[in-house]
Symmetry: D2
Subunit: 419 residues, 4 copies
């Protein structure tokens, strides 16, 4: 029996890795993520936040196994082999969900090539296209197929894209149920392993407590719910408050860390740099070349450049923030910021105005309904839904009033200037 | 120079105690609190919650010093002696705020004597009356006066009652400002040291994460604000989210721990016991006798009693909860519970129905306006109020929209029966 | 499928309980342990240490399942049912290892009846005799047999006594191997679940960091080693430093917490009380009566007594410590203490002199060789034993030089007097 | 009154920074440290260890203020201004103790220029020479002099070098005592703020528990001891076990993290690269140029190089470890390694053999006596020295038997080969 490899992690303790998984983790594509900071420029405001997408990916990978074991504890598998197939598929999807991520932040996508060079579609490529291409057709694709089986890469891609392009693969159990909804929700949804890891991790590394939540309680109450041949992610109702607390924790992390005024101004300056430097700092479409594209790569471009925005970033001389106001609150607040903006304009002082939105859940927004509901289950009949007393289960969105309480987003309106 | 005593605490680490304070802490009245569990019957649901009011009182005492140093860092004291006077007064108020607390929970007050035997007023005594009497006229009162100065007990009482009965004492600084509002807010208010300690402590001992909040950040942003000769507790606006998180943490602790269905049913059974046993289990009005009144005392009464409620408590055979529903949510929920109640009634099954309210802040409620506002200060002019842009400071209640989001309380409607 | 019960614990998070286990946990014998503090009088020095033997027993129970899953991950069971049999047996042994413990500390054993009234042997009973009797012939014994199977109580007893009185029961796997050594080491040995729980728990509740150790790393490296038909507990060599750290942590907990001078003097006073009060405070031999014997029971005896030692304990007026010296270190130190003792004697001042020994491991001592060795396994051939290079495994005691470094015990010599 | 800046830190919470200190922290020299990982190649074994020397420096800076306040709580200052002078001096020394550190690890010093180009001495420069030059004659030197006073840089340098080159500066208090020993011990000694920070920080980021120690207890027992006009760092004897635990924690961190076999092999490969690439990867002697020298700089050299060692490092293809043995333990162990070495040699397989030493304290070694003793003080006469009963104070090295127990170092002998 091979000795399992263990990696120590500040968040999860020892992370166990099977030997077929090791080949994937050791691949250049996954190791590239060591060079990409998880929270980008936030490090300038929270100097402890030096953690990278590699440890985050390992963390999500680790949590996916815990989640899988919980969710499917009572599932009626055909056999152990079938169970292993889905567990490995989920673990690989968790490990690779960010494998195509560019340096620093999403702003870098400004420098990406046309999508047709990566995945064949219209418009400009995003990091998701790189993720798709790397899993689908790079040397990593071969490693995956060899370490597991030929159609694993495609199944992993389906989960990451949250589009079931391979329905046959996801039929499981003695009754041929469709596992895709539950698995997909664990990779990308309100309670996915991505968020569960990054909130805990970012919170620790930033030195804030806001992202801490009751992970153990949520995990030990994870279930699945079968509806019309589909298997959905579900939670026992005793985890209701834990989930509310989780959603609020994430909301606070947005307001405090991810939308911090320093991150915002540096991202804006990077954007200006990329716009004005478009001949030089271009992200290669060749996937082997992309292996070199990380924060070191971007930094060497910035350091070598004479572009003024690049200099400001490297020398840490950002535009100064003159005002931060939550302008949706009152018309007064908006006018207050408008006045300052008018003044800067009239005095010809260069400035930006940025607006960031703190929202409880993107699934709150009208156009972004999640593909797959998560269910709250009232296993213990003593605890019943406050909205639909007596039902056995209901979608999470109907089980809590939190989405209602936080309907109104918080808009953070900021003005930065060259003063 | 005397060697300061240090007591190790799981929450705060080493707690330093001056030698004049040691006499008070070692007094029988303060030591009595070792015998009273902080969260009463919650221990039955959260077995780790064995902590007592003694360590909580030490914790509040410890935090009061930290808070004092922060709040008055820039205050213009007449001299060091004046500063010491107020610091010791605050520390003693924090230490003694619960000194008259009865065994287990507030339910025990059912067994208290008429108030006239304790403090001279109308009606039945509460634990607050005992606190007042102990500080005002017991042997502890003498210890306080001797360890500090004669009018300290009265000043401490004023702070605990949040009624400034001794205006002269609280004038301070080169401009004779009234410190009472700020000090009183630290003992009893939205951000008092009582809450700051019990949330962290209860959270740790119960094994829940919900009561954790960013204490360090709140502390390092504590300030004071002078308005019309009065000095109020204040916070820099950069602690806004930390305070929102703190309020939500407390809300979640209520829903999860303090209003747990096991606590509620045992409290109700204790209430029934005290009602039906009114000849025997009476709390003495004599303060020296009261020294023996703690959880051990109550338990020996319960153990010795043949009362059926006492037996149920000791043998851990509570009424069973049949239903828990948040009946304010919808009429449907209320009807659902009503139906069950009607059924129990018609079948002559003994039952209780209990309603608990989870609310964000008691100051939310109309009739409970806090005496003293806490102010949010916009020291850094870049960060401005979203509601009143440009103001230098405003009351906390106007600086956050949280109270608005949580206007609607959560009512937990439960039915327990003898089944 | 029944809903598993979960109890939140400050140390381990949610502890899962199966429904057959619930009956045992809810029994009066296990619930009695709520009334017995884990660290007895240590609470007087470390006021946070209010935790009881109930949560400790739950913790050991929880860890035993984790340990079992790790140790036997690769064991070749006959079938799942056999695996369950041993897992439940181990869990019950962990849960019940302290079920007969008396109030406060081992000192109470002074008040226990002759052993012949409990288990039939010679001499005075100890708490181990009560444990044996409760598991073997009380109403709990019946609950165990009914919740599991008739011979479980006897098997559990064997494990707790570390004497395999039931060899047939412990034969397991396709090759009929003897599991007793490994299981017994997990209940009582250098790395048992008892220690693993109490060190973490006492450390947290006392507010000291000394008892923290790398539990996760030790657990994920637990193995078993088969030698001559016997299966022993084993560890991968990569956990060597973690085990050394664990042993040192325990040593420090002894020096700092368990042998604290306040615990020692109160224990001595309790001893004096029990000696001088032998008509009244006697522990009943009847097991149903024993259900009432907990800290509350002892305290009510102390409170009701006129015995001077009882009064000192209740009123917290101990003999004062005059000297603490590590007298084994040098002859000088011993003489220094001897001189003080001589002086007290000549002045007729009542005093005690107590000597406590801090030692790294009781298995260090010559007469206490552990029945069953724990093995260090060099699975990865790159890491080899420093003492016997090339061996595949060796006893823990030969794999580390720590026992050698700590051969010399630390003796703490104290003098307390009535001053 | 200016608003103090606060930086959140995962280890210490909010770190407060005064406005004169801000200019130093924001300087390019201090910001350069963001680009240098604290534990170098250890990140490859402990992927969480991405933290840099910037946060470590801030942490040491933060601790130095806490330590100063404790140590000199009872010191008889001439006035508040004098106190401030020493506090700022100490804080700057703590902040800047590593300011000249090169990329990754000490191995980089191989590429440093002759010392005469940096500080004027003989031989090759080390990072200490850069630290000296930066504080003494770079643009940072000017910032320091302007933010504080002209001779602060020189005083800071004295502390960092642990050589009192400026005796007049360090005379303090009403009796003109020499503070240098105590201040120097806080910057560089058995209990310095450097170690106190890095152990806690490395431990957290690596995900190991071994570096945790009872910082709060040590801090609250820090004192000073005056001997012959000199003021030394001292500790109350009640912190004896805390200090022992601290020393053992550090020892374990060495064995587990700092001397991890991956760190060792990469350091060796970097050494080989620097030796064989001496024309290209040279560290500039110009201090303004040195601002660009960080891990990014080194990595871009490695990436651009065709050197085989550089490729191995970048592509993560190290020599494989074939054996790790503690060869000092027995002659057998040494022979075992010798045999393997002989075999590799005869087969002409390229290999390294490396020997690392884990020792409890460098002050253990004969030739490295610390300049300034730290004293253990027996303030409370009840607790007396085990070696010299009755003394009021004694050097730490005589107060504990730990140095004696750990006299024998642990030598880790490893063989790596190109296989």
């Amino acid at each position: 029996m091979p000795i399992p490899l263990e990696i120590r992690d500040p968040i999860h303790g020892p992370i166990q890795i099977d030997s077929n998984e090791k080949a994937v983790i050791d691949s250049a594509y996954v190791q590239r993520l060591r060079g990409i900071k998880q929270t980008g420029f936030a490090e300038l405001a929270f100097p402890g936040a030096t953690h990278n997408r590699y440890t985050h990916s390992l963390g999500a990978f680790h949590l996916s196994a815990r989640a899988f074991d919980q969710v499917f504890r009572t599932f009626d598998w055909k056999d152990e082999k079938e169970r292993q197939k889905f567990k490995y598929t989920l673990r690989m999807a968790a490990l690779l969900h960010d494998v195509g991520h560019g340096p620093l932040s999403h702003t870098i996508e400004q420098a990406m090539p046309p999508r047709k060079e990566i995945t064949g579609g219209e418009g400009q490529a995003t990091h998701e296209d790189y993720t798709q291409a790397i899993i689908g057709r790079s040397s990593l694709s071969k490693v995956l197929a060899e370490s597991f089986w030929p159609d694993l890469p495609q199944a992993v891609l389906s989960l990451i894209k949250a589009e079931n392009e391979y329905a046959e693969y996801f039929k499981a159990g003695k009754h041929d149920l469709n596992l895709f909804p539950a698995l997909s929700s664990l990779i990308s949804g309100e309670l996915d392993v991505d968020r569960m890891d990054y909130m805990a991790r970012d919170s620790l590394y930033c030195g804030t407590t806001y992202g801490q939540f009751d992970r153990d309680w949520i995990f030990s109450n994870l279930l699945h719910q079968q509806v019309d041949g589909n298997v959905y992610l579900a939670l026992d109702s005793r985890a209701l408050y834990a989930v509310e607390d989780f959603l609020l924790s994430r909301y606070h992390m947005y307001l405090i860390v991810y939308l911090h005024h320093k991150s915002v101004v540096y991202d804006e300056m990077l954007f200006q740099f990329l716009k004005s430097d478009d001949q030089n700092t271009r992200i290669p479409s060749d996937l082997e070349e992309y292996l070199k594209v990380d924060d070191y790569w971007l930094r060497s471009h910035l350091t070598a450049s004479n572009n003024l925005w690049a200099k400001r970033i490297i020398e840490q001389k950002p535009y100064q923030m003159l005002l931060e106001v939550k302008s949706d609150q009152t018309e007064d607040a908006k006018h207050y910021a408008d006045e300052l903006e008018a003044k800067l304009k009239s005095e010809k002082i260069p400035y930006f105005r940025s607006s960031s939105t703190g929202l409880l859940s993107k699934y709150n927004a009208k156009d972004k309904t999640p593909r797959f509901p998560i269910y709250m289950i009232y296993r213990d009949p003593r605890f019943t839904s406050g909205f639909h007393p007596g039902v056995h289960y209901e979608p999470l969105s109907e089980a809590t009033e939190l989405f209602d309480r936080y309907k109104k987003n918080r808009i953070i309106d900021r003005i930065y200037a060259d003063t």
